[in-house]
């Protein structure tokens, strides 16, 4: 019985090739679009997150509990090298570094501003953050540098300093003593994030530890992963590792979502607006398919009349028609998934270069080539939505068929 229905439905579909091909194209096109755009959207989120993470926070950080909330200079990680050695052994970690921060007065000859002074380990930092690649003037710090500094472009402009000038740093050390020093400007960076460029200054970690009286201590152990999807795994491994490390301050592992809650929320909002757009697209497709089905039924009214006259029950006829719709949709969605995945896959490998933005993108440490990211989710969510909505829209003509009367239907022209 079932196979007979399927065979009949399949034959019915191909009795009017042109109509079927048109309907199939509409479904397949919508599916391709959904797969590609969803993949592209998720791919661009990855780029956004990775860019933001690369400027500043890293994917994962180990800190003393409470440091992220209070930025209290007292809350340090003392055995940071030990933690670094553990991180090194995690395969999905690409690079890691150590940082220490202190809010201080930064002063040139005539001007003074408040800024976050960060002690960094130059070679490790260059592997973790993009700061080194966004230098506008001078060069980034290198190993062996001591009383030298790189600072944000806006801070440099506010202070009216340029490469080779001196800045005075006046803050408070970890022991409460006065931390004061003079550092020579070695370079000026522009990350593109104004807040960072206006309020940050970097000095070598060894220099920081001496000035701020915190030998053998840092505030953050920062790690970046090969891929965003590794973050949760790395976090879990680190949490397990930390349980075996004793430390004077209780340590916590924070992921990028906790470190940059604003970014995670921004992405959530963007995703919602994206979903609304996709739903509209799916609805438009659904209406066009509804139209096709409806027209087909008007065309085939005579045929249905004959079928009912030779004893096919209205229910059975409805089931047959619904099966046709499902078969057609499934076929269209399948073609769409294959086509969409191939398209996405091609661009995932070759990238989409946005002409004309290369210069701007480079300034912000971004690449002008975007890569969509095909995942099981992006390849299935859109098609599933098309499938469901199309089948729903096929219900209406199917139910309409049940109201046909054989004699009237047969005389219908």
């Amino acid at each position: 019985m079932v196979s007979l229905h399927v065979r009949m439905a399949w034959r019915n579909i191909w009795r009017n090739r042109r109509r079927t091909v048109l309907t199939l194209s509409a479904i397949a096109f919508a599916t391709v679009l959904l797969v590609f755009m969803l993949s592209f959207q998720f791919g661009s989120y990855d780029v956004m997150i990775n860019t933001a993470v690369r400027i500043h926070t890293g994917h994962v950080q180990v800190q003393a509990r409470g440091y992220h909330e209070n930025n209290d200079i007292r809350l340090v990680v003392t055995n940071y090298q030990m933690i670094g050695d553990r991180i090194k052994t995690i395969p999905s970690v690409q690079a890691y570094t150590y940082r220490a921060n202190a809010f201080s007065l930064v002063s040139s000859k005539n001007r003074t501003y408040g800024a976050i002074v960060t002690g960094i380990d130059p070679p490790r930092e260059a592997a973790v953050s993009t700061t080194a690649s966004t230098m506008r003037q001078g060069v980034f710090l290198s190993e062996g540098d001591f009383n030298q500094t790189v600072l944000g472009e806006l801070l440099a402009a506010n202070l009216k300093v340029t490469v080779g000038d001196e800045v005075t740093i006046l803050g408070q050390g970890r022991d409460g003593s006065i931390a004061a020093t003079v550092a020579e400007v070695k370079g000026i960076y522009r990350s593109g994030q104004d807040e960072f460029d206006r309020g940050s200054l970097q000095i070598p970690l060894a220099f920081f530890q001496e000035v701020y009286a915190m030998p053998d201590a840092v505030h953050e152990v920062v790690a970046v992963c090969h891929s965003l999807s590794d973050v949760d795994t790395v976090k879990a491994i680190l949490i397990a590792d930390l349980a075996t490390i004793t430390s004077p301050y209780s340590l916590v592992v924070l992921g990028w979502k906790e470190l940059m809650p604003g970014l995670a929320q921004g992405i959530a909002i963007d995703l919602v607006s994206g979903i609304i757009m996709y739903l509209l697209l799916v609805f438009v497709v659904a209406f066009s398919i509804l139209n096709t089905f409806l027209m087909a039924i008007f065309e085939r009214t005579r045929e249905f009349g004959v079928m009912m006259a030779i004893g096919v029950s209205p229910n059975r006829l409805a089931r047959l028609l619904f099966l046709e719709a499902i078969l057609m949709t499934a076929l269209g969605v399948l073609i769409g998934i294959i086509g969409g995945s191939l398209l996405t896959w091609y661009f995932q490998i070759h990238g989409i270069t946005l002409e004309g933005v290369a210069e701007i993108a480079r300034q912000y440490g971004l690449s002008s080539t975007m890569y969509p990211r095909l995942t099981l989710v992006t390849a299935s969510v859109g098609p599933a939505a098309v499938m469901v909505i199309t089948c729903l829209s096929a219900l209406y003509p199917t139910l309409k068929v049940r109201k046909l009367r054989p004699v009237e239907a047969m005389t219908y022209v």
Binding site: R74, S107, T112, G114, S177, I178, T181, V182
Partner: protein, 253 residues
């Protein structure tokens, strides 16, 4: 809007409470002014010990202080040795800091005035705007009690319109002889932020004076700063040259 309303309500309550003036109570402005003069004198020198207490550590500093008139002050750290000769000059409502290690004078920018001074619970503003209480606020007596046979006035001070103040309200407890007992600082939503308590009254600098003051954060009971006077001397005047940028740079241990 909310803040304005809250201030209005408080002002109204204060009006109700203080609606029955009695003859022997001096005007609130006089009490505050007299007390400010009593505590600050015309000019003074002092050596104080400042203890900064935090839950897991404590820090002691010894500081020499010169003051003149309502606004001018000079602070030099004497100990610990590591920080010796670091100095702060306050003139009018501006502040400069000097560090001997880098041999530079840094003017504290307006954006940094709310930051802590030397890591203590006193902010730069607490020092810079110490005379704010007599110029920028209107005072109302809200209570009167007798402690150890001395009358203690409770004064509520609300900022004058458009005055450049940092606090939404201050509450003072002042003895009739002018000695401060307590100063509470409220934010613009009239929540207590911190409180300065004066205690340990004894003859000091030729008059009865609270030897100890303690600044406490309202929301962090385990964080406070205690300042104890070791030496205090009042005088008619001090040379103007003492309160200059060049004087700030001169070591004077």
């Amino acid at each position: 809007m909310k803040t304005t309303f809250a201030i209005l309500v408080v002002a109204f309550v204060i009006l109700l409470v203080s609606g029955r003036p009695s003859a022997e109570v001096p005007p609130a402005d006089d009490i505050v002014r007299r007390s400010f003069d009593y505590m600050r004198g015309k000019a003074s020198t002092a050596i104080v010990n400042m203890t900064i207490h935090r839950p897991d550590w404590e820090r002691l500093m010894r500081i020499k202080v010169w003051t003149k008139g309502e606004t001018d002050s000079l602070f030099t750290i004497i100990a610990p040795a590591k920080d010796a000769d670091n100095a702060t000059l306050k003139k009018g409502r501006e502040m400069w800091m000097f560090n001997p290690k880098v041999n530079r004078v840094i003017k504290v920018p307006p954006s940094m005035m709310s930051q802590s001074w030397m890591g203590s619970d006193f902010s730069n503003n607490d020092l810079a705007k110490s005379d704010s209480i007599i110029h920028d606020y209107t005072h109302t007596i809200t209570g009167k009690e007798t402690v150890d046979s001395v009358t203690v006035y409770s004064v509520t001070s609300l900022p004058k319109p458009n005055a450049p103040v940092i606090w939404g309200m201050q509450k003072l407890k002042i003895r009739e002889d002018g000695i401060y007992l307590r100063e509470e600082f409220y934010d613009e939503d009239l929540r207590l932020v911190k409180a300065l308590t004066f205690s340990d009254l004894q003859p000091l600098g030729g008059k009865l004076y609270p030897r100890t003051m303690k600044m406490e954060q309202a929301d962090k009971p385990d964080e406070y700063t205690v300042v104890t006077y070791d030496e205090l001397e009042f005088m008619e005047t001090l040379p103007d040259s003492l309160f200059t940028l060049s004087s700030l740079k001169t070591p004077r241990r």
